[in-house]
């Protein structure tokens, strides 16, 4: 959580509470997760009846603090972790019963930089392609390595590569079998700013080729920067799924808070045309407006307030950030 506050400009204030309603996409997505729970042998419940639909071709960011269940969820989709209950379909195939068809469509880039130290880049990427049941295709591997700026390093042993380069090799391995769905588990954890931006560019270019990308992150900035949709997970539960643009619109909303001299019991009828609400026992009048709109309506509101005889002795504005929404959601859950 500290990471979150540090990374995202602590610009401003309060959540408007609208984040609580998690959206349920009615159609079945390219990845369809239904009622998935996971209880580990030690009794720890990592996931609680998770439902999630990932749409084909989107970049979906799964956002959550450490230990929220992100990696467990990915592990279940990819076949590394057994679900305690529930069902997962990948590209229409059940990941348990029809695991061959399902897994052939999925590429996974793990969080840890787990590589075979003594293998060359070329050998390890070619191995991955074979492991996923595809016949050798040196031209394709070459294309993948070039797209990841790894071509010059193809004969280097893994142990001689930097952390950033190893991360690229893991992506190349995950792409080696031409997956339709790519999971990136914390792709930019511990990488420098430049590489992070490189990674973002890469993910966008993947989306252009039709690959669905699901990335987990605890950097809000990353979710904002890249995702089409954002899901928030905490303590094993999905607590929000929303189009990023909708979220951003909510972020674009500002509130003008007027501290009244006399508390109001209700909003005067002549002010009914404004998006107003009362708070703090009627002492605060809150006006919600779109800060990016041409006309915010503030001037006319102040004029009409004056006409209605509503006096105030202080005012301030507030804006919700994604971070705010996230922090509040997580806090509510705790």
């Amino acid at each position: 959580m500290r990471q979150l506050s540090e990374d995202y400009g602590a610009e401003r204030a309060v959540s408007d509470g609208s984040a609580a309603g998690a959206e349920r996409a009615p159609e079945r997505g390219v990845v369809s997760i239904r009622g998935v729970s996971k209880v580990y042998d030690n009794g720890f419940q990592a996931l609680r009846r998770v439902d999630l639909e990932i749409r084909r071709g989107e970049i979906f960011a799964l956002l959550g603090p450490n230990g929220a269940g992100k990696t467990t969820l990915i592990g279940i989709v990819c076949g590394i972790v057994n679900a305690s209950e529930g069902q997962v379909l990948a590209a229409g195939h059940d990941v348990v019963r029809d695991y061959r068809a399902a897994r052939a469509k999925i590429g996974l880039v793990p969080q840890e930089l787990t590589t075979e130290a003594f293998e060359t880049v070329w050998a390890t990427v070619s191995y991955s392609r074979g492991l996923f049941g595809k016949p050798p295709n040196p031209a394709y591997i070459e294309q993948v390595l070039k797209s990841l700026s790894l071509w010059e390093k193809r004969n280097n042993r893994m142990m001689s590569l930097s952390g950033g380069m190893k991360r690229r090799v893991l992506i190349a391995k995950a792409l080696s079998h031409e997956p339709e769905i790519l999971f990136l588990d914390e792709p930019t954890a511990g990488v420098d700013v430049e590489l992070r931006r490189d990674m973002w560019r890469l993910v966008r270019s993947l989306r252009e080729t039709g690959v669905t990308v699901i990335l987990t992150t605890h950097y809000i900035e990353e979710a904002e920067e890249m995702a089409d949709r954002i899901g928030v997970i905490n303590r094993g539960k999905i607590i929000l799924v929303e189009d990023k643009n909708v979220l951003m619109r909510k972020l674009g909303e500002k509130r003008l808070i007027l501290h009244l001299q006399e508390p109001l019991e209700r909003i005067p009828p002549e002010l009914g045309g404004y998006r107003l609400s009362l708070a703090s026992g009627g002492v605060e009048l809150i006006y919600t407006y779109d800060a990016q709109a041409e006309r915010t309506g503030i001037t006319s509101l102040l004029h009409d307030l004056n006409a209605a005889g509503v006096r105030f002795n202080d005012l301030r504005t507030q804006q919700s950030s994604l971070e705010e929404i996230f922090v509040n959601l997580v806090r509510e859950e705790a």
Binding site: I80, V81, N82, E116, K173
Partner: protein, 253 residues
């Protein structure tokens, strides 16, 4: 059958052998040669023939078995333990491969290495002592079955082990003693009657005996019993591997 997947695992494991040629091939050959020098020449020169076979030649099948068992176990256990240790196992678990294909790749490679090694040692031995192989097909059958069975055992150990120490434990404390006490360097006729009976409890005895029979037609126990023993072993190992994959024991959370 996912041919490309099996080939990928098999090829990857075999490439490890070529990469570590010194450790994989040269060192077992040197240590076997040392056995020949010490037991075959130095001590063997003072021992008369055993069942009509010169002592140097008599110990060849036992020595090949000794290498076959230890190398099969260590190759296969390391082959699967290392990806678990380094974390690269995630890729195998997330690949569209069946458990059978995974085992085929890993165990097939480990067994292949041992068989190649066994044949190299056989070649090395022929430089020291005159060899005859009366039943070459049986010899190959025992070689392959033993390599396969103990590679499976190694695979199981590699899954069970949660540290490098445990990885060494079984080969060091179980396989090597059983092989030394299983008639590698002697016929059980040379033991007092009580120890003969005890030795009959040692499963490795049956493997060495059957293997030696394929060379010289002499055996401590009948060939059928030897073959049955190795097949029972194979069955137990297969059942254990099947259970491991069914339950995801130490592989999947």
């Amino acid at each position: 059958m996912n041919f490309y997947s099996v080939r990928a695992i098999y090829g990857y494991e075999m490439s490890r052998m070529w990469r570590t040629l010194l450790q994989s091939v040269v060192s077992p050959v040197i240590s076997t040669s040392l056995y020949f020098v010490v037991f075959g020449s130095a001590i063997g020169s003072r021992i008369t023939e055993v069942d009509g076979v010169s002592y140097g030649a008599f110990i060849v099948p036992g020595l090949i078995m000794l290498m076959l068992l230890t190398q099969s176990v260590s190759n296969a256990s390391f082959g699967i333990y290392f990806p678990r240790f380094s974390g690269t196992i995630y890729e195998v678990l997330s690949a569209p491969v069946s458990y059978f294909e995974v085992v085929l790749g890993y165990v097939g490679a480990a067994a292949s290495k041992s068989i190649i090694l066994g044949l190299i040692i056989l070649g090395t031995a022929s430089l020291f002592v005159p060899l005859e192989i009366q039943h070459p097909l049986w010899m190959l059958l025992f070689l392959v079955l033993t390599a396969l069975t103990f590679s499976l055992l190694g695979f199981i150990i590699g899954i069970w082990a949660d540290g490098f120490e445990k990885l060494q434990l079984v080969p060091l404390l179980v396989i090597t003693p059983l092989t030394f006490l299983g008639g590698t360097f002697y016929s059980i006729d040379m033991l007092p009657p009580f120890w003969q009976k005890i030795t009959l409890l040692n499963p490795v005895l049956y493997l060495i005996s059957g293997f030696r029979w394929s060379f010289y037609g002499i055996a401590d126990v009948s060939v059928a019993v030897s073959l049955a023993t190795i097949l029972v072993f194979l069955g137990i190992c297969l059942a254990l591997v099947a259970w491991i994959f069914k339950t995801g024991y130490r592989l999947k959370a």
